[in-house]
C-alpha cells in the first residue's frame, strides 16, 4: 500500500533526504521545512520504498501538498 507524504505545514524545503528507489525507515528525518524563520523536521510516516519524490530542496510548499510517495 502506498503512503503519501504530505507537507505538515507551509514553508520552504531546506533539506530533503528522500531519493526515488531508496528505502526509508519509519520515524527517521526525511526533510526539514523552514517556516516562520524556524526549521521543523519531518519524519517518515512508515517504512518502505520511496516511489516518487515530487519536490526538491528550495521549493515552497503549501500545507498538505504532496511531497513523496512511500510504498
Amino acid at each position: 500500500m502506498a503512503t503519501e507524504v504530505l507537507a505538515p505545514l507551509p514553508g520552504k524545503i531546506v533539506r530533503l533526504n528522500l531519493e526515488e528507489g531508496k528505502t526509508v525507515e519509519e520515524d527517521i528525518e526525511i526533510m526539514v521545512i523552514e517556516a516562520m524563520k524556524m526549521e521543523t523536521s519531518v519524519y517518515a510516516p512508515c517504512s518502505g520504498l520511496v516511489e516518487k519524490v515530487t519536490k526538491k530542496i528550495g521549493d515552497e510548499v503549501e500545507e498538505d501538498e504532496l511531497i513523496a510517495v512511500i510504498s
Partner: protein, 373 residues
C-alpha cells in the same frame, strides 16, 4: 592657576557626573551587549541601550524640552502618537490572519491571554501604583511593544522607558520564560493532542477581514482606533495584492525608519533620576509576573474550552495568546514537538498569536476609555 582650569572643567560634563549616571551606563551597555551578543530584540534594544547612554551624559541637552534633539524625536514621534501606529502599519502588512480565520475559536485564546494584563493591573494598584501607572504596567503582560509604548505615553510617560524595556526584554525571553510554565500546566497527554486541520480560507475572506474588523473594533472600542486603523490598513495593503509597493514600504523602509526614531528616544527617557527608583525597578518584576500570568491564563482557557468541546485543542496553544509574534507560536511548536515529534503546532499557534496582537490593542483601548484620556 587652578581657577581658570576649574572654569574650563566646568564647561565639560565630567564634574557633573553622578554614580546614578554610571549605573545607567552599565544598564545601557548591558542592553547593547544583549542586543549584539545574544540578539535579544536587537532592532529595539540596541537603539534603546544607546539612548540610555546619551540620556546620562550631563549637559548634553539632548532631552531638554523644546530644544533637545532626542526630546523632539520623543515629543513628535511618541508623544504625538505617530510612531507606534506606524509600526502597527508595518505589522499589519506582515501579518497573515489566515491561521486565525481558519480556526476562529482560537481567537478566544488570544483574548484569554489578556487576563494577565488585568491581573497585573490589580496587583500593581494594590502595591501602590496609581491607576494610570498600574494600567501601563499591566499591558506589559500582553507582550506587545508598540502598544505598551502607546499606552505608557498616554497614561504614565514617567514609566515609559522602564515599561518598554521590560516589554521588549521579556518578549526576547519568551523561549526561556514560557516553556517551564507550559510544561507545568499541561500533562504529556495534553501536549500530544494533534490539531485537526482548519478550513481553507478564501482570498475574499482575507480581504474583507481588515475592513470588517476595523469597523467592528473601532465602533466597539473607539480609543483603540489609532493602532487598529493602522494595523488593518497595513493588512489591507497586504491582502489587496494591488499595492505591492505600499505593502513593501510599510514592511521595510517605513518600519525601519520609525524603528530608529522609536528606540533612541525611549532609551533617552531613562535618566538616572527617573529610572533608579524602587517604584520603577519593580516594574520589571511586575512585568515578568504579567507575562507569566498571561501564559497561564491562556493555557487555562484552552483547557476550559476543551471541557465544552468535542474536538480537543492542544492547551499549549493558549500560551501563544501573548502577542509576541511569532516567538510565542514558535515556542508552542517546540514544546509540542518535545512531546510528540510529529505534532506540528506552528501554524495553529499563529492563530491565537495574531489574535493576541488585536487583543492587547483592545485591552489598551479599554484602559484608555475607562481612565478617561
Amino acid at each position: 592657576m587652578t581657577a581658570p582650569l576649574y572654569e574650563l572643567l566646568k564647561t565639560t560634563g565630567f564634574i557633573y557626573l553622578t554614580p546614578g549616571m554610571v549605573i545607567m551606563w552599565c544598564i545601557g551597555l548591558v542592553l547593547i551587549y544583549l542586543a549584539i551578543k545574544k540578539q535579544y530584540e536587537p532592532l529595539l534594544l540596541l537603539p534603546i541601550g544607546f539612548g540610555i547612554l546619551l540620556a546620562n551624559l550631563p549637559l548634553s541637552g539632548l532631552m531638554e524640552p523644546e530644544h533637545g534633539l532626542l526630546w523632539k524625536f520623543y515629543e513628535y514621534g511618541i508623544h504625538w502618537e505617530i510612531i507606534p501606529p506606524l509600526i502597527f502599519l508595518g505589522i499589519g502588512a506582515f501579518t497573515d490572519f489566515g491561521p486565525m480565520l481558519a480556526n476562529p475559536r482560537l481567537i478566544f485564546l488570544g483574548a484569554g491571554a489578556q487576563a494577565g494584563v488585568y491581573l497585573t493591573f490589580f496587583a500593581a494598584q494594590a502595591m501602590g501604583y496609581n491607576i494610570m501607572e498600574a494600567a501601563t504596567i499591566g499591558i506589559i503582560g500582553g507582550a506587545d511593544g508598540p502598544t505598551t509604548i502607546f499606552l505608557a505615553s498616554k497614561l504614565a510617560p514617567q514609566l515609559l522607558g522602564a515599561c518598554a524595556v521590560a516589554a521588549y526584554s521579556y518578549m526576547a525571553m519568551v523561549p526561556i520564560i514560557q516553556p517551564p510554565i507550559m510544561r507545568m500546566m499541561t500533562t504529556p497527554g495534553e501536549r500530544k493532542i494533534r490539531m485537526r486541520k482548519g478550513r481553507q480560507v478564501s482570498k475574499l475572506e482575507k480581504l474583507l477581514f481588515p475592513i470588517i474588523s476595523t469597523f467592528l473594533i473601532i465602533l466597539l472600542v473607539p480609543a483603540s482606533a489609532p493602532l487598529i486603523s493602522m494595523l488593518m490598513l497595513g493588512n489591507l495593503f497586504r491582502e489587496a495584492q494591488v499595492v505591492e509597493r505600499l505593502k513593501l514600504a510599510a514592511q521595510n523602509e517605513l518600519m525601519n525608519i520609525v524603528t530608529i526614531f522609536l528606540g533612541v528616544p525611549i532609551g533617552a527617557t531613562m535618566n538616572a533620576q527617573v529610572f533608579l527608583q524602587p517604584k520603577v525597578l519593580l516594574i520589571f518584576a511586575l512585568g515578568l509576573c504579567a507575562f507569566m500570568a498571561s501564559t497561564i491564563t491562556g493555557i487555562l482557557l484552552a483547557k476550559i474550552m476543551n471541557l465544552f468541546s468535542k474536538t480537543k485543542l492542544n492547551p499549549l496553544l493558549g500560551a501563544a495568546g501573548v502577542s509576541a509574534v511569532p516567538m510565542a507560536a514558535r515556542v508552542v511548536h517546540k514544546v509540542g514537538m518535545e512531546a510528540d515529534k510529529k505534532n506540528y503546532l506552528l501554524m495553529y499557534a499563529m492563530g491565537p498569536n495574531v489574535a493576541g496582537v488585536i487583543g492587547t490593542v483592545i485591552a489598551a483601548g479599554i484602559f484608555m476609555t475607562l481612565l478617561g484620556t
